[in-house]
Amino acid sequence: MQTEVLMMWLAVSAYALSAILFVFGAVFRAEKLLSIGLWTAAAGLVPHIAGIALRWQAVGHGPFLGFYEVVSSYAFLAVIALVALALWRRPLQVLGVGVVPVALLMLGGAMLAPRSPLEISAKLASWWLTIHVAFAKLSYTSFIAAAALGLVFIIRERRKEGSDSGLLAKLPSQAVLDDVSFRLVGVGFVFLSIMIVAGAIWANEAWGRYWAWDPIETWSLISWIVYAIYLHLRLTMGWRGRKAATYAVIALPVMVFTLIGVPVVYNSIHGAYLTGY
């Protein structure tokens, strides 16, 4: 427990430092600072994963029960996604200006939440749960990355042709951003389908019903439809560029509401992963 908390605070410190570097780097257009910020955030991943692993070992289950575990794991995935995108196309590291402060707030908030472990109950003891949770995380990460690329696309589009400042000019072309954002939505959609199906099968194994219009079930279906609409607008109505990017950005809050808002707003048997049993 002691080591775990220490590791987590080390990660918080690294992200805090990285956030400062990113903000200064962006304000003063200093690419060097952005790079240092990126590596600082990447360094923070090491104590962060160590903290998650220690917790996993201590409580005997993955990071999916309770606010502390869930939110900290999403902060981890957000930073991983940033580092992956930056490794793929270095200029994308500028996304850190948005991602790292958010990850910092998430992890900081998680550290301040109660950390007492929640037990795996008989209802939760299922392989389907593992699949359900793993794909939920993968799909949310994909949608977050798609929205982030959409945001970059829109910001760049707003500046007039040819007036890209140093940082933006180095990004991949708008066409590539547009396509990658679409691919990420596509991959996220497939992951989301797997998550919903694993959840339905698990519900059937646990309760004998695969679908009961529980608020969280319903909201995950709504998010699925929201992204199916995106795919249709793009593939059948020819939405590209700014329109598609705007949609990817606006769709994200629906997803976030499903994950964090629904367990809080509705009193559902399903919200236990955030609010406890």
Partner: protein, 450 residues
Amino acid sequence: MLRRALRFLESPRLAIVLLVYLASASAIATMAAQGAQRSAVYSAWYFVGPALLLLGSTAACAMRRTRVSAARLKQVRALEPETAARLARQRGRDVGTAQGEGSLGAAAVALRELGFRQARVQGRVVVAQSSAWALMASPVFHWLLVSLLIVVLFGRMARAEGLMGVPVGGERPNIAASYGVIDAGALYRWPSAPLRIAVPSFEVDYVSDGIDRGPTPFVKLLSADGSVLAAGKVYPNNALTHNGVMIHASDYGLSPKISLVTPGGEVVATQQLIADFDPNAALRIAPAETVLTDAAGKASVRLSVQLYPERRSGRVVKLVPKSPKALLVATDAENGSELGRATVTRGGALQLEQGSVRFDSVGYYARISVVDDRSVGALYFLFFAAIAASAVALLTTPRFAVVAVDEAGVVRVHVRFYRPSAVTPADVYDALRSVLGGDGQQGEGAVDAD
């Protein structure tokens, strides 16, 4: 008329409008309504109607797109070298000059690397196409969605689910009368040779793998003639299943056993009743009621059996009492007048004119949830098939290309993407230019969505 209906259903706008409507209606329902009222929204006409329209629309779309994709696949496969060469000449771009025999082979290899999986050299042309999977995945996916919706729809109607109480040591036939609560769909048929559900043993607290599984009955599913079809401990995530019948443990309670004894001491009837722990009355267990029938088969006495619960340090525990005690109240089944009452311990009896009612023993009963839904297997299969098809559809890009060498040795290529992708026609030209070492003109190629 039919054609116009089809045209309407095939419209991509309609699909989007319906999807937006269903998402909004679901969202509003989760906020506006509660409990049963909420689930009623999802079976109301303004939800089911548009969902059925979407089903029709998806089927219409899938049909049209199957035809289009199959035609494309066939068209390219059947492309004659002369036609292909003409296509490249008329619509293609110049990408360089052939450097001898190997040029077309090298072009085919380059095309394969760019995702044109089936690239074949025929004389002086290369015809290349993405795999059949890439072309057919999207229509297949939409067909799977249609099947999924139909299976869900019919599955719901042909499904029965209910709760029955089975005394430990006893069994119940799987017929409507065995259930306390039953919800059978309009198309559900009760089997002519019903299964039997037996509960030979029960544990109030079963622990396995270090996890407390809670109250756990051991359940046996028997065929009508008594052979065991399935058996096992039933706890969360460990249901007992057999051919679409799925058994979960829902709850448990007590089961008092009583007998009707003649004045001569002969037992004429024995019954195992079901009594629930009453969450509202901390003192007593809800009474179990039964109508006792005498030897002539006429209903005569209505009996209520009320058990006193076990208490540990002043608190009621959900266990069989160590020294069970029951309040027996007999009333006339016709006019309701009381015939007698007595508080008795195990083995004690309430004396009546016709004989006596004896409180034999008390054990547990398991409340079993039985779901009979044959559609679940098909549903699981369709889930996975649909996910696989959507993954293929989203990760591939259907495309085709022809490369031809004319008499002067000039290589021309015509590329067509049926959907925009990260690889553009310009990338194809560049790749071919680099394998040919040429420097033909720049070009755009065709990209379209359907």
